[in-house]
Symmetry: D2
Subunit: 139 residues, 4 copies
Amino acid sequence: MDGFSFSTEVRVRFAETDAQGIAHHGAFVVWLEVARVEYLERHAGGYQAIRERGLEALTTEVHLRYHRAVYFDERLTVAARCVGMRGARFRYEYRIVRGDELIADGHTSHAIVDRETSRPTRVPGWLAEAVARAESAAA
Amino acid sequence: MDGFSFSTEVRVRFAETDAQGIAHHGAFVVWLEVARVEYLERHAGGYQAIRERGLEALTTEVHLRYHRAVYFDERLTVAARCVGMRGARFRYEYRIVRGDELIADGHTSHAIVDRETSRPTRVPGWLAEAVARAESAAA
Amino acid sequence: MDGFSFSTEVRVRFAETDAQGIAHHGAFVVWLEVARVEYLERHAGGYQAIRERGLEALTTEVHLRYHRAVYFDERLTVAARCVGMRGARFRYEYRIVRGDELIADGHTSHAIVDRETSRPTRVPGWLAEAVARAESAAA
Amino acid sequence: MDGFSFSTEVRVRFAETDAQGIAHHGAFVVWLEVARVEYLERHAGGYQAIRERGLEALTTEVHLRYHRAVYFDERLTVAARCVGMRGARFRYEYRIVRGDELIADGHTSHAIVDRETSRPTRVPGWLAEAVARAESAAA
């Protein structure tokens, strides 16, 4: 997708639908996380590489705008890019599409913390570099 | 809570925690919905009153900022107010606290649609009036 | 409820419904867990009392039979009893009702393990005694 | 997998983990559903083919035995077979493995109902035949 370094596919699970007959808006938050996990796997050795160093990436903000309802079993493309790394913080931006149609967009913000102390910790150099490489290749 | 017409309690379920040992950020989206449902029940005959008239309230936007991690079995207070009704649209604002401590805040936006046609439909008068009464009492 | 030492209430969340217009069958598994947590709180100092001793209670089996569909916002009573403690293992039995109507019943099996080693560990004496007291009072 | 006509892959999502650091036992119920949906897609035109005829497949029983804990981001194979179609009812049996290791097994029971009347309805001939073909090919 234009301007995005990465995308992955999700398929709406029946358990993710609600009594309005559509995917529940909370399911999208999980799909963004699925996209981040796969982004890190493709570009930076996986989220496990962060966790194995005693770090966690906390989510500090979620913003989603829903433009179209989606239905059971539909395939969606979740595009993600990682932007704005500074200190302990970084941010992902997303577009979710069904074919050509924009379904939702938004962003999440994150902070790296030390698992033992819960204190913010500068994004490790190897991770910042992997992300910079991925995003400059996409630009 | 100051400036809020309504609050309810949620208790962090074990199923809502994740491998970071905290409540998953997606669970908060569900808690906001629990608060909306109880808000409508207290002030406007319940969400069922909307659904029984062939209407649905779609969620068109979610914005959450997470300030503190929360843990299994903690009791949280979710305060909500309904603001900015105009045409088919309205918005809720939220503060989630643990005792005196701000845990998260945010807002959601919604649109009333006709269930059969999926077309936006003006917020029914009885609902707009019930919300206006509730919010002016809180002001 | 007859033969049960404990019951609690749950209310069907909108997020727990699915596109069949009913509560998703997976939500019931979470409600059983909510009941266990409250059972332990009432009778044995809470699940946290187990976790604080470096133990975890793993779920080793879930069996649920669904007799009636349930709908958004309905209030259900989940009755639970703890039976068959032996060594590291114990079992809960459940009945979920809506008023007088049986909605679902089932059981779950559990094993106490040491968090560090993941090895099965005899149910602590204080817990076995608290459960025995609770259940003999109900009999 | 031996004796199974079908298998699919799932990957443990972070949102599916819990504060024990493992996949929550409730997530397995969703994975069984994912397997059923893909089974029907491969063998019988998809679950949508059932829904489009005004029918629903209700879940009337879930039984799961958990043999090993599973962790974030692990890939699991869910094998499923459909057995015992009779009248409105049928049943799936499952084995979930991680490589060669048995993680969980179980079954679910289902009933076809008419969406409007909620009454049990004989499994349609085309579906019974598609399942019979799939299962006899696997035997």
